[in-house]
Amino acid sequence: MDSPALKSPETLVRLYRSLYLVRRVEERVAEIYPTDRIKSPVHLSIGQEAIAVGICDLLRADDIVSGTYRGHATYLAKGGDPKAMLAEMFGKVGGCARGKGGSMHLVGLEQGILGCSAVVGTNVPVAAGYALALKRRGRGQVAAVFYGDGASEEGCVYETLNFAALHKLPILFICENNFFAIHEPLHRRWAADQLTERVATFGMPARRITSGDIFEIRDAASGLIDAMRDGGGPAFLECHTYRWREHVGPAEDYAAGYRARTDMEEWERRDQVARLAAMLPEAERRQIEAEIEAEVEAAVAYAEASPFPAAEELHAHVFA
């Protein structure tokens, strides 16, 4: 979809700003990682940013997102605070979870970011429960839940799709299909490549987007989300994408042999960060980038400066 509205200058700027922020935060994390100051496993989404960014661009501040342990993009695209994110990864008390959650459990209720989970699939029914509350509230809010192709195999995800459709919950399910769960390719896990068709049998609109094109993703989600706000019930998007780095950690891992670098390179050619950069006037692009670089450095500085939690914090927050 290349409709002019979707490429309005404002939209372009907003999308690029968000894409660039996610990309740069993760690249900085990867740079810092070998210094051991980040005391937490990191699951980078470099290469996959367009999905979270494209969809979150359509969400209102009072909408809700739910992501996974690979949730940096979701967190940032929904307006999460890079300072709180970095401090969390450094294990500092200024972190979004006061240092108790680390990279896999980013959270930001004020920005509508439900906490991420490290147990694959667990966030999906939780997001549906939140959507149930949104529906009861009747203010047209929606939830968007992101999960991987691996998560789509978990029983609770199927159960959730049925329940969400049955109760016409305002929730958009987004399967980020990067063809791998850790190092295991789809063909060792999926009997048939018909996930989207399967989800459609629960009686909800379901679409597969294979291009990785941020405008196509955003456009597809747009109609679905509008219908949802009016009580139309849930919808599903399967978005093909590719994880450029290793499953966990900052490096590339093509030498391991479980996948070919050429596969990545095909996706690299479609890189939405570079694509949108090229669509912007040079000066404007530079200004955005400079602003974001400053924001990222400020976040790192904040994380460094924030203290570790005091020992007594261990016993806080067991019960509310």
Binding site: A97, K100, V107, Y130, L132, F163, H317, A320
Partner: protein
């Protein structure tokens, strides 16, 4: 704290099942965020009557059944709770909680902590323990010990109608996930219960009987069975300090330890397996706190260390009962060997207590 023993103004005699129902209905009236869902809560049987009338009064948005999807439905409860609602998720058997352990242990128990206090999960998970009439292996388990093991979950096991109502209201108003365990055989038993909403605070054990010779702790329905045992023991001159912990997390060890400090004898009777069970925790804490002070006689009773058989010929030996409890207490108190309470009298006492089917 008022008690389930004495009928005073504003009280009626109420069945355990009706006390549960009344508590939920009153809270749903008070707070529009409370809702009640789970398999079969809205059918004509209404979970043995414990959800009767909720659909009519509050409509299908606030009282609804679900697909057979316990795991996801638990996640739904958690998410709704995070959003500020107060779900009551009902399971007709405690055994089925094994299907949602992941959400309960890895999400509900941990969310408040691992998100640094930024979310709360105020939900109630109701489930019933079955017994007898061929319930068997998969319909009879009391699995509270697993929940006691995991920080972040509260666990309640009321043994009478008064506590059932007071604990249910407290559970609904609690800002944490509460595992609320009921016992099927307690449902028809009546006790005086106030009409007004009230809370039974968690973490305060209830003294069901005062005595000096032995401390007995009875959990869930076993509190009732211990009461019968205590009356048998009275006949041979043994006075029992009988304690119902009411809530297992938080657990009122102060009351138990104070009692055992006097009696130096502890029998814990649980409606569950003994190994790494609630009784192990109580016995271990007592031993930690009082073991240094001289001899201490401790014993635990619970399910036989087997799977629960269906045939009554074997099931009869699977559970503690007033007879076996009384004999164990008698032996623990150093009573002369060979005491055999009249089984007819034990059985009689027992049947008087439970009007329900066996």
């Amino acid at each position: 704290m008022s008690s389930p023993d004495t009928l005073s103004a504003g009280m009626r005699s109420l069945r355990y099942v009706d006390a549960l129902r009344e508590a939920v209905a009153q809270e749903m009236r008070r707070d529009p965020d409370v809702f009640c869902f789970g398999l079969d809560v809205d059918d004509h049987r209404a979970i043995q009557g414990s959800t009767q009338g909720l659909l009519d009064e509050f409509g299908p948005d606030r009282c609804f059944t679900t697909p057979l999807s316990e795991d996801a439905m638990t996640g739904v409860a958690i998410g709704a709770a995070m959003a500020g609602m107060r779900p009551i998720h009902v399971h007709i058997r405690m055994d089925f909680l094994m299907l949602c352990m992941n959400q309960l242990v890895n999400m509900a128990a941990k969310a408040h902590y691992m998100y640094g206090g930024s979310v709360k999960v105020p939900m109630v998970v109701r489930s019933m323990i079955g017994k007898s009439w061929g319930q068997g292996a998969q319909h009879s388990q009391g699995l509270h010990a697993m929940f006691m093991h995991v920080p972040g979950l509260k666990v309640v096991a009321p043994s009478n109608a008064y506590d059932a109502k007071g604990c249910m209201i407290a559970a609904i108003r609690d800002d944490n996930p509460v595992i609320f365990m009921e016992h099927r055989l307690l449902y028809p038993i009546e006790a005086p219960v106030p009409e007004e909403p009230f809370m039974v605070p968690f973490g305060r054990a209830r003294h069901m009987r005062r005595g000096d010779d032995i401390t007995i702790v009875g959990i869930s329905n076993m509190a009732v069975e211990c009461l019968r045992a205590a009356s048998l023991l009275e006949e041979v001159g043994l006075s029992v300090d009988l304690i119902d912990p009411v809530s297992l997390v938080p657990l009122d060890m102060e009351t138990i330890v104070a009692s055992v400090a006097r009696t130096r004898r502890l029998l814990v009777v649980d409606n569950a397996w003994v190994s790494a069970g609630a009784g192990a925790e109580i016995a271990a804490q007592v031993a930690e706190q009082l073991g240094g002070g001289g001899p201490l006689a401790i014993r635990r009773m619970g399910f036989a260390p087997t799977t629960c058989p269906t045939t009554p010929a074997l099931e009869a030996h699977f559970y503690p009962n007033p007879l076996t409890i009384a004999k164990a207490a008698h032996a623990l108190a150093g009573g002369a060997g060979g005491w055999e309470p009249d089984p007819e009298r034990a059985r009689l006492a027992y049947q008087q207590a439970f009007k329900g089917p066996f």
